[in-house]
Amino acid sequence: MLHLSDQTQLILAALVYTPVVIMHLTKRNRAAVSLYILQSSAIALLLISSLFDKFSLLLLLAISATVAVKIFVAPYFFNNLTRRHRLRFSVSTYLNTPLSLLVIAALFSLSQSSFLAALVFMPESSDRLLRLAFASMLTSLFLCINRKGALSQMLGILSLENSIVAFALFAGLEQSPGLQLGITFNILIWVIIATVFASMIFRKFGSLDVTAMKRLKG
């Protein structure tokens, strides 16, 4: 359980959600990575606050590993990728900006609707937080689908993961430190492999635009 004031939790939930929305709008890869760092920092604060509830060395280790991977390692790999291949600007989206914003608004409305009442299984005080975290999940998923850049897709997936972690923390569904370490290790390996792949794709296709990949059909 998180021992933070409702207002602080709401600010942190907004810090998880808002960066994803801005990721949809930003054209610069660097900015997108910085937004991911901001989102991850909010998750880190949430995780650290859970330490005050039940301190253990293993939990401290799990949280430190999560913070290290999300705030330092993943951004380092992504920035390295953009620097090495001079990818200052991200590629375009399938929907234009106004349409993308409309979809984001629709997803936000969906997350606030009674349709998802089943997901808000916690006391009323967590209602807004869970809905915001779920809106963040949907918007991250939309980022993966709408963006044509491989880097944006990777950031979308990591943002989706952050949103799920935020949901779990707001709902009090934290996992044991051992499992948290396992999940973090998984993310680390994922980041490394995805970055290597992105690099290979750039070398093969001369771009990180996934629409350049159209050899497989049927």
Binding site: I157, G172, L173, M200, F205, M213, K214, G218
Partner: protein, 483 residues
């Protein structure tokens, strides 16, 4: 102890392969020995499960009748794929398509892939199962892009992204399932048994949402329509032994995750919600591939689409319940054997013709006499022609389903007819006819022939005779699911 061996053996094999310098022979030896040890450990575990109902190692690894079915398919297909890999990669090295470092990379990743699958099946923790299934994605991504060509890079990227998204949704569903146990924070592992025990405290509305996320998440990995789009690309671009493992083993592991959550959801919901969801996904997973199979022009993609169709049949069987569950479990086994055989045949054909286009492959029966015959037998088996096992398992599924879901059964049988017609057209075209550019007749080497022959013999025997203990294990697993 045998369970621990199943985890340690591929781990040691991966590390040992990594340490090998220069000689491919040692990589082959390690693969052969490790796969043999794993099959022996799997058989030992099966005997324990048969006698005691469960095999455990500490509180972290456990296997019951349901898990052992999947475990055996992973181990047996793993053994066949390991031996086939030796013959297949020797041929690729001979043709100078790959060198030593690539071969070593292949074996290391294959062992890690097997390790992840064994762990996913045996772990008692739903979260660890998720981690292990995600690990299968990470270990196989580089195997799919093994040849480094643009198309295989594309397939691997698609595989990585779609499966990662799918599995994250599955992770979310898993967390929701754990809600009654974890609310308030925990500092212990939650296992499947605890989840079953907590079903009376589960919120039915939440469990419905959770099951949908799990079905979509792990359904992505199992290749269920409409989350299947990565599968034909990945299975067709990977080296053939890996395609066999992906189709014959990994899909079963993903289905196992769905079935395990389904057992919990059913206990919590006491309504036909999961049944309806599985019937829906099962039916569309038969329908879409059925039409694509007819128009297919690439034989590896043909087999990949066939895997989607069979995952649909199995899901439909689990959806129908009752005797159909028994049929679905049986179908998992038969499909694994038949599909792996087909991918081995695809590998031999590719090595001979250097193409996966069916238009360029004619007269396999004369150019590859043994492979050609196996291809025809495996085609008959996979399309459910009697007396092969798939006919029997489909008979169980559809006869049980016809009691309550006659329109669904009629629709599915019509689609299976389409699949048969499509397969027949393609396989006849490949097996008979004359080549525009004749190729030298003869098999490539013994190790590319023995694994598919062994599997097809096993498949044929299993169609006629299923040993009592195996039947009892399947029966116990079906009872567990239907409870």
């Amino acid at each position: 102890m045998a369970l621990l061996v199943l985890i340690i053996s591929p781990l040691i094999a991966a590390l040992a392969s990594l340490a090998v310098r220069k000689r491919i022979f040692w990589l082959e030896t390690i693969a052969a020995v490790a796969a043999s040890v794993e099959v022996m450990a799997a058989v030992t575990t099966s005997v324990t499960v048969y006698r005691q109902g469960e095999a455990t190692f500490g509180s972290f690894l456990a296997t019951g009748p349901l898990e052992i079915i999947v475990l055996m398919t992973v181990a047996v297909i793993g053994l066949a794929a390991s031996f086939y890999s030796i013959g297949y990669l020797r041929e690729e090295v001979r043709k100078q398509i790959i060198g030593f470092s690539r071969v070593r990379q292949y074996y290391v990743l294959m062992h890690l892939f097997l390790l992840a699958m064994f762990f996913a099946v045996n772990t008692t923790s739903p979260i660890m199962m998720w981690i292990a299934i995600e690990a299968t994605t990470l270990s196989t991504a580089f195997l799919i892009s093994f040849y480094g060509k643009a198309a295989s890079m594309e397939a691997a990227w698609k595989y990585l992204i779609i499966n990662s998204i799918g599995l994250l949704l599955g992770f979310f569903g898993t967390l929701l399932f754990l809600a009654p146990e974890t609310s308030g924070g925990i500092d212990r592992f939650i296992d499947w048994r605890m989840l079953v025990e907590s079903t009376p405290y589960m919120d039915p509305s939440l469990i419905k949402v959770a099951f949908i996320f799990v079905l979509i998440g792990y359904g992505t990995k199992a290749g269920l329509v409409p989350m299947h789009t990565w599968l034909p690309d990945a299975h067709s671009k990977a080296p053939s032994p890996i395609s066999a493992l992906l189709s014959g083993s990994l899909l079963n592991v993903a289905l196992l995750a769905i079935v395990k959550f389904r057992i919990i959801a059913d206990a919590a919901l006491l309504s036909p919600f999961t049944r309806n969801a599985m019937i829906f996904f099962g039916l569309i997973s038969i329908a879409i591939p059925a039409f694509i199979i007819i128009a297919q022009n690439n034989y590896k993609r043909l087999f990949a689409y066939s895997s989607i169709e069979h995952m649909g049949i199995i899901t439909l069987g689990f959806g129908f319940g009752g005797l159909a569950t028994f049929g679905a479990l049986l179908h998992m086994i038969y499909h694994s054997l038949a599909k792996s055989t087909l991918f081995f045949c695809a590998g031999n054909t590719f090595l001979k013709y250097s193409s996966t286009k069916m238009l360029k492959v004619k007269g396999v029966l004369s150019s590859l006499p043994v492979t050609g015959i196996i291809l025809v037998i495996a085609f008959l088996a996979i399309t459910g022609v009697p007396p092969f096992g798939i006919f029997i398992s489909e008979f169980y599924i559809f006869s049980a389903g016809s009691e309550n879901f006659l329109p669904v059964v009629i629709g599915a049988l019509f689609l299976l007819l389409l699949v048969f017609a499509g397969f027949l057209k393609h396989v006849v075209g490949m097996s008979l006819g004359e080549d525009a550019e004749p190729v030298a007749a003869g098999e490539l080497n013994l190790l590319t022939v023995v694994p598919p022959v062994s599997l097809v013999v096993l498949l044929t025997i299993a169609g006629f005779y299923l040993p009592g203990p195996i039947r009892e294990l399947i029966d116990s697993a079906a009872t567990l699911i239907n409870r």
